[in-house]
Amino acid sequence: MREIYLSGYNNFVLPFMLGMIFVLSWCIIGAIRVILQLPKEDRKRFFMSLVNPKIMLKNIRDWFCDCLFHVKLWKRNKLLGYMHSSIAFGWFMIIVIGHIEVFLYTPERVHQIWYPIFFRYFVAVTESTMKGSFFFFLMDFFLLVILSGITLAIIKRVRSRLFGMRRTTRASITDLIGLYALWSIFPLRLLAEGFTADISGGSFLTKSLNGVLHSFLSDHMNMLPTWWAYSIALGIFMCILPFSRYMHIPAEILLIPMRNAGIKVRHARKGFAKLQVYSCPSCGVCIDACPMGAVKANIKDTTVYLNRQIKRYNEKRIEEISDKCLLCGKCTALCPVGVEGDRMRIAQRSIRKYNLSPDYSNIDENMLLERCNKFVSSTNNDVSSTQNQKVLYFAGCMTALTPVISKSTQSVLQKAGIKFEMMDKDGGICCGRPMLMAGRKEQAEEMVAKNTAIIKASGADTLLLSCPICYKIFKEKYHLEGIEVIHHTEFFDRLINEGRLSIKGSDTRFVYHDPCELGRGCGVYEEPRRVIGRAGVLVEADKNGKESICCGGSLGSLTLSFERRKALTENALNNLTVASPDVIATACPLCRSTFNRYSDRPVKDIAEIIDEATRRKNR
């Protein structure tokens, strides 16, 4: 390769350089700000994680899998995955190979950062071309890959359903500018390189283009404007990037190591929350995921719009969106970059100022304590199996409103010969989860402290819950060392495996609804299915497991009225009944009563099903 211009510079690189400097400084300042906004212990944790080889390896893997290959999107839809990874990985490869070319042929130009981008303009082929033809081919190949991705992107704008997306985000004006700039970069690059294909060399794409459009491309009067256009497109894209959804490209690079370091959203707007907002690619996967989408008017209340409004500091809309959400966590589970829609909303709620705050300090836990310390006198300390377990059963408020669950659970425990006591037989203190969901952390902590005291004093070694809402907070926020926290579905599964419950199956067809707090919330998917499978025939809903649809009754929403939840419940029921089950089984008292209101077939808790199945045997 031989250089054509001694200076190695032309004015057309200016737009690109301007954009590049702008975006680089913006991102560096932004990254420093985010890191500085982290609480001290989080910041320390983040830096420590960067020297931990195990986490670093995971970071590298995630960078490749998420940022470049978009593995999560591939799993969702092949076409959607190809579209994203072709553009991201193709572009990445063009930049990498461009730099390799500069290193190999004109090492003295390495410090000129525009050089690899506009390499073909500045050089001409020599006899040693054959050495470079490999790179020429690669460059053209990846350019073709990107162009195929861009073509798909254009098709997606019109027919998103082909890509497995029913609804997509409505683009903002900056998003549109970014989008059109992005679309034009690569065709312009192809055209620009087409001019120089006969001078600087090229491969199947650029060479052939040069041949086909010879009359236009051989006129060098047209050359410089095309290179200018290419550079301007790059410049516009980079200048608009911080203000558009394309900010997710640099933001995700920082988000991945922070997430792997175990950093959580602590502040509504600063630090990790800010990073999540900027990492949102506005892809709209959360729109289809959201259970509120059953009513079209709710589409604007999905996570993607929350992020957009946070960027715009539109406090009124932020409040509306974050209060309306059911906190089912499905958007978080499906988000390809890992924006935590539910936690973000709780964080927004937590900065709300209230004039009145409930005070729970006057609740007398001593009275409850006395009633519960049943196991203290017991001397049996062997807890190796359920045989000698001392189980404390906390039914919770929701189960108190569906007494059949608590009654069935107690009946099953009796049949299995479990030594148990009710923690809230005669009233108890709320687990605190509803307050936590409302963003009122202090109130929740008051209840957590009181309940912890009661549980610890009871002398029990197992805390049994039949409500997943309680289960989640007992698992996550309570410090109950030495006490196992277990949901009744898991406990029943264990009792069956140990042979302490004998269950007679039937040919009743059950469909299992994964409650949000149990499935996505605590990752319990298998045990309930195993248990139901013993009592009857288990069929699956259309969307299940991680993609299960919230029943609509969730405590998470602060503003969704009763009437407006009806459509959500009916939508969830339609999803559950595709395999025409006889009974809808669930493991959450709230899901049970919500479904019961509109269901055309019986809705039962797992405890009821098991209680009936064990009774069958006895008869």
Partner: protein, 340 residues
Amino acid sequence: MKEIVVIIGGGIAGLEAASQLLKLGYTPIIVEKSGQLGGHVAQWNRLFPDMTPAKDLVSDLIASSKDANIFLNAEISFINRLKDNYNVMLSNGISIISRYILFTTGFRLFEAQKKEEYGYGIYNQVITNADLEHWFNTGKDDRINGKEIKSIGFVHCVGSRDEKARNSQCSKVCCITAIKQAIEMKEKFPDAEIYCFYMDLRLFGKKFEDFYIKAQRDHGIHFIRGRVSEVSENIDGNVIVKAEDTLLGKPIKVTLNLLVLMSGMVCNPDSTRSASMLSLPIDSDGFLKSSDNVMHITSSPRNGIYYAGACTGPKTVPETLAEARSAVLEIHSRIIGQQK
């Protein structure tokens, strides 16, 4: 030829309408899905406010309508509209052609087990107003017999004025029924403490207020303003009721030997089904929609179709009877008008 009028439902509205139609010289045909006449009132023991035996009312009505054609155990298979007639096909294979159909399809009692927090069907000591009347009539109920009864609770508005139970309407009669039943129980168990948990007391009818005063003054029945939040069971099988006394502003808890749920009136799905065959409008509360709620409560928007009684919303017995007569009068004037 004598004009035929098909009456769907053999409750008190249907019987009263039939007897009035007979007096006017028409041929009423009663279609009743169950095996007996009298509907819900036939299951009741005594009626407020004068403690009239329900049996007397029903047997009077049956006696005065005995000349009507009555099909028991018959349901409507389908109804279709001919030119100016309706063709009513019954489940027993009989087909009736008539120009007039009177809906007296009534209501259905709210299924108390749907309010799960009250524990009906789960706890043995929780019964409904209908169960209690059944016990008054027959004296047979394991939940009441053989048990020492020292305290009884009545829960008003079970499945009425309750959005979550999908019934926002007031059932009108439960307030006074609860007071009536509370007095009756006090008479049977003079030592028992009786509590009524209410939201509002809606005592609109003649002598209702006197009844309420009497219950408090003469019988010492406690009225607690506040909804029951939850019901649980203790080891003895008694029920523990938690509620809020909104007048005192304090939560309360009471142990009861018997809890009576005042199940409200909800729309009858059978009447909705028959109405849909004629594309009659259904109101937002699920009951049939009259063409006007003030002037034409017994008229439907379709020619020849009339309503009477609780099929258009909760009604008391006198209201139902009055509506039956009024519907008959409307049918009569229409027939006269057509003959001219």
